[in-house]
Assembly symmetry: C2
Homo-oligomer: 193 residues x 2
């Protein structure tokens, strides 16, 4: 998606050869018009999926999940990160390891808001190792619902997440795919744009 790639080039900061900071427009400061365009794009890419609910994870997934939901006219549910795994019969929960922070979060969602039989679109800001996305998939499966697709704002294509999700059988749509960081410059994967 050209608009997003331009934004990443102009405002993203490459910290080393694997970390990209986009807190100028995506995950600390948020550009609302850009979020609407991302939502519009996701709604096109998953238009035929009969999406009935969008699942994301706090905090950085919420903005793009909300704008996408406006196009689909469906609710958003965001899973919550918890430091400790408190057993609670009203929650589905799963463990998500963060390679960046080197911690395991317990991620949970109320059973009430993730009923069986839904067509769930999973959205997140980044895809690297696929830990968060696979955690959300696990929550949907615990609920007996159906994952109809996985939408990602920025994919680091040189990390194993994409392959892991594709191999598990999911349609993955990433709006910007980064092939490498070379000498502090961002190289996008060829996505026929």
């Amino acid at each position: 998606m050209r608009l997003l790639k331009e934004k990443i080039k102009n405002e993203g900061i490459v910290l080393n050869n694997s970390i990209l900071k986009v807190d100028a427009f995506l995950n600390h400061q948020i550009d609302p018009e850009l979020m609407m365009e991302l939502g519009r794009e996701f709604s096109k890419r998953f238009a035929d999926k009969k999406v009935s609910k969008i699942l994301t994870i706090e905090s950085s997934g919420i903005a793009v999940a909300l704008t996408t939901a406006l196009f689909f006219h469906v609710p958003v549910v965001f899973a919550r990160k918890q430091k400790s795994s408190t057993m609670n019969e009203n929650l589905y929960s799963t463990k998500v390891f963060s390679f960046t922070k080197n911690i395991t979060n317990n991620v949970a969602v109320s059973k009430k808001f993730l009923p069986p039989g839904e067509n769930i679109l999973i959205l997140d800001d980044f895809l690297a190792n696929g830990e968060a996305a696979m955690g959300l998939v696990d929550l949907v499966h615990q609920a007996g619902s159906n994952v109809v697709g996985i939408g990602i704002v920025i994919e680091k294509s040189f990390q194993p997440g994409r392959k892991r999700l594709i191999d598990a059988g999911y349609q993955v749509e990433s709006l910007a795919r980064i092939k490498a960081f070379e000498k502090g410059q961002i190289v996008f994967a060829d996505d026929n744009e």
Copy 2:
């Protein structure tokens, strides 16, 4: 705001005489169309304030901050909660005590996204004791910026937050004001609707 009050009546759950759960549409599951209407209403109430940026706090403030920002055509910044107060010269930080959870969070925002001279609208989902709102005010003042107003989705008017913010000189606009919970029922303050 009639639409919001109806939603609270129909889907809110009164847990005891001070806790209202609205996780069906505001802070776990999110109703995107309702968020747009809340954003529209905030944009009317603060229309004359020359808002240049919206500041909120993760996670439950993000959705309504985003829709409000769409009407004002300004960026959103969300402050992050941190368990520990790690000193960092690139951050403004402050302490926010949560009466509900009985913990103190360190709340921080990058200096880069909170420059001096801005007209900041502070938004949050709930107002009870005013701890979060006053924390956000403190961050804005550390930055040398101007708080032009404080918008709240649901105010518990029987708790001291509103008076605290008004006494400090701020315009407070709450879209639903709850006077009391009586026998599990929600009593709204008279707001001339």
